[in-house]
């Protein structure tokens, strides 16, 4: 069942794959978004401090005696140290000459006193840096002088933060994917379940259960179940027509046979000569033989068909056996047979009732057929070690040297029974019923004449 649930062409698997794909894309987007937002936040925070540092320096600018004076406050660098151990560079230009700091620290192309400080990334001395540059105008000797202040810091600390954020974002993405994946699996399972319910409801059915499917189903499955029900209805109709046809056919064949047999019996009553008696008796025998063969052939065909798909049910073997005996007692009485039955009451076992009825019927019928007049037929039904044993013993002619293997072959009859009407299918049927129930059928000659037939299921 589970192998089928997500096999290569299964809806469940397809749905699960699609949901997982969506979850994967969403997880990746989540990862990227978290990382980028965190990155920007980190850069913005860094820029603010850089800006504050540059502003702090700018605030100490003054002019004296025709010169620009600068007194760099300690706090301007200590606040940068708060972020990380990164190196800090600065450069202060006055009138395009570096008055202090690293004169090769890159500046942006254009810095303007009227605009806000400019933040930029660059490379300096083999390190990535983030820098800020701003311009102040100082009045020296009544003339405005442009002073550019640049503060930069290497980005190692920044990169570490970014990496940490990226890790967190990745963990978040994977976590999201796992949760989404698990929920997809649950959703797929519950979506596919009605399909499995329908399949299970059909699978659990016996071979002869042709009722419509009635279990509650989601509306999406309704067309499928409706067409399935339509198919079941057509199958039921076809089987019914077939059965009706068989019944009609049997009726049309057997009714004239019955007429022939009855007429022959009447004629036999009035027969004058031995010769006409013999003829009429053989007519009756022939009618009986064809009727019996037809019955056995149909039974055998039915059993071969049913044995493919056993309709196992639990039923009362004791009652079934009693019914079978009751149906045949009139036949036994004609030969003054004494049927002694020893049937344990209420034996409830599993099996295909129709097949087992047929087997029991054939066994008892056989015993009656081959019994000597006025003899005794013993029928027993007992449980034997977890199994059920049905035994019919007669005081008839025995097996007459035939072996069981031969008697259970189709159309093969015993060597000593040519005078009795039979089709050679009765025991074949019993053997088949035993086989399909994993049981055993045994025929043994009794010492002192007669046969014991035992069916163990």
């Amino acid at each position: 069942m589970d192998r089928g649930r997500f096999s290569s062409n299964s809806l469940g698997r397809r749905l699960l794959l699609q949901l997982l794909l969506v979850a994967a894309v969403l997880s990746a987007l989540l990862y990227l978004a978290v990382r980028s937002v965190a990155n920007q936040a980190a850069i913005a925070a860094h820029d603010n401090i850089l800006g504050a540092s540059a502003t702090a320096i700018a605030e100490q600018l003054s002019a004296s005696e025709g010169e620009v004076l600068i007194d760099i406050p300690y706090s301007a660098f200590s606040m940068l140290g708060a972020i990380s151990e990164d190196r800090v560079f600065y450069r202060i230009d006055s009138d395009r000459t570096t008055i202090t700091g690293y004169e090769d620290l890159p500046l942006p192309r254009e810095v303007n006193a009227r605009t806000a400080p400019q933040y930029y990334s660059s490379r300096f001395r083999d390190s990535d840096i983030r820098a800020v540059a701003l311009e102040r105008l100082i009045t020296v000797d009544n003339l405005p002088v442009s002073v550019i202040i640049a503060v930069a810091q290497t980005r190692r600390g920044q990169d570490a933060i970014t990496a940490r954020v990226a890790n967190t974002a990745a963990a978040l993405g994977i976590g999201f994917f796992l949760v989404a994946g698990f929920m997809s699996w649950l959703a797929t399972r519950s979506t596919v379940r009605p399909l499995h319910d329908v399949a299970g409801a059909i699978g659990r059915r016996g071979a002869h259960d042709l009722r419509d499917l009635k279990s509650p189903i989601p509306s999406e499955l309704a067309p499928l179940v409706n067409s399935l029900n339509g198919f079941i209805a057509r199958l039921r109709d076809a089987l019914h027509r077939n059965e009706t046809f068989m019944a009609e056919a049997a009726h049309h064949v057997r009714t004239p046979l019955a007429t022939v047999r009855t007429q022959a019996e009447i004629a036999l009553r009035q027969a004058e000569t031995d010769e006409s008696r013999k003829t009429l008796r053989s007519v009756i025998r022939a009618v009986d033989e064809s009727s019996r063969s037809a019955t056995q052939l149909l039974d055998h065909a039915m059993i071969s068909y049913r044995s493919d798909q056993l309709a196992r049910e639990s039923f009362n073997y004791s009652e079934l056996t009693a019914d079978v005996i009751r149906g045949l007692i009139a036949t036994a009485e004609l030969k003054d047979l004494h049927i002694v039955s020893d049937i344990d009451t209420d034996l409830q076992y599993n099996g295909d009732k129709v097949l087992i009825e047929c087997a029991l019927h054939n066994m008892v019928d056989n015993a009656i057929k081959y019994s000597s007049d006025e003899s005794r037929v013993d029928i027993r039904l007992n449980p034997v070690g977890g199994k059920i044993q049905f035994q019919v013993c007669d005081k008839g002619r025995g097996l007459g040297g035939s072996v069981q293997r031969d008697l259970t072959v189709r159309f093969k009859r015993g060597l000593n029974v040519s005078d009795v009407v039979g089709s050679g299918l009765g025991l074949t049927t019993v053997e088949l019923v035993a086989q399909v129930h994993n049981g055993k059928f045994e025929l043994v000659s009794r010492s002192g004449g007669g046969t014991c037939a035992t069916l163990t299921l």
Binding site: M246, A247, E248, A250, H251, V253, R254, T255, P256, L257, A258, T259, V260, R261, T262, Q263, E265, I266, L268, R269, D274, R277, R281, I284, R285, V287, D288, S291, T295, L298, D299, M302, D323, G327, I329, A330, T331, E333, L334, K335, D336, K353, V354, L355, E357, C358, H361, D373, E374, D419, V420, V421
Partner: protein, 221 residues
């Protein structure tokens, strides 16, 4: 006994009626279910012989209606189907018994007797002959105070002889009626049964006579 035969095939109905009349039974024939209803409304029967496939309906529906109306006339179904599942279904549907076409009349009679016996023998017909009382249904004869049980073949032999007292039945005729056609009994077997029956009817004026070279007859002289 009085039979109602419900069968649409005229040939079969005629021959079954003729055959039953040979044994001294009265038979009314209904070719369909409507006629059967009419017959049942007008007369009472000991047994109904019912076909399943009829022109105006299914015999099983008739059976269900028959049972629903609480009519207790026993019904023996004559079915053309002997599939196992049909056997089970027929008895479940309320039939007392069934015979499969083509059927053996000895078997039909045995089944009729069994059904009537099960039903408490409403159609008890007791024959008095030569000081003995013969109850075919109970399979016994009463002579004075003595009650004797008869086995099936003895019963049928006595029935045959008594159906026409003082007429002679040949061994061959008796053979045909006592043994099934599928076996070839020796005529000596008849002597065995005649001998036994003679013992059972001892003590009354009825006697089974051997008519040399011809057969047997029962007399009360």
């Amino acid at each position: 006994m009085r039979f109602l035969l419900v069968e649409d095939n005229t040939d079969l109905a005629n021959s079954v009626s003729a055959r039953l009349r040979l044994d001294g039974h009265a038979v009314d024939w209904a070719p369909d279910l409507r006629a059967a209803d009419a017959c049942l409304a007008g007369a009472s029967y000991d047994l109904i012989l019912l076909d399943i496939t009829l022109p105006d309906g299914d015999g099983r529906d008739f059976l269900a209606k028959h049972r629903a109306m609480n009519r207790d006339t026993p019904v023996i179904v004559m079915t053309a189907r002997n599939a196992v599942s049909d056997r089970v279904k027929l008895l479940d549907s309320g039939a007392d018994d069934y015979v499969t076409k083509p059927f053996d009349f000895s078997e039909l009679e045995a089944r009729c007797r069994a059904v009537l016996r099960r039903r408490g023998g409403s159609a008890r017909n007791v024959i008095n002959f030569g000081g003995m009382e013969f109850d075919a249904l109970a399979a016994r004869i009463t002579i004075g105070e003595k009650v004797r049980e008869l086995r099936n073949r003895e019963l049928r032999l006595l029935e045959i002889l008594l159906s026409n007292p003082r007429s002679i039945y040949s061994k061959a005729q008796l053979c045909d009626r006592l043994f099934s056609y599928t076996e070839e009994p020796s005529e000596n077997a008849i002597e065995v049964y005649v001998g036994r029956l003679r013992k059972k009817i001892e003590g009354c004026s009825a006697r089974i006579e051997t008519v040399r070279g011809v057969g047997y007859r029962i007399t009360d002289a």
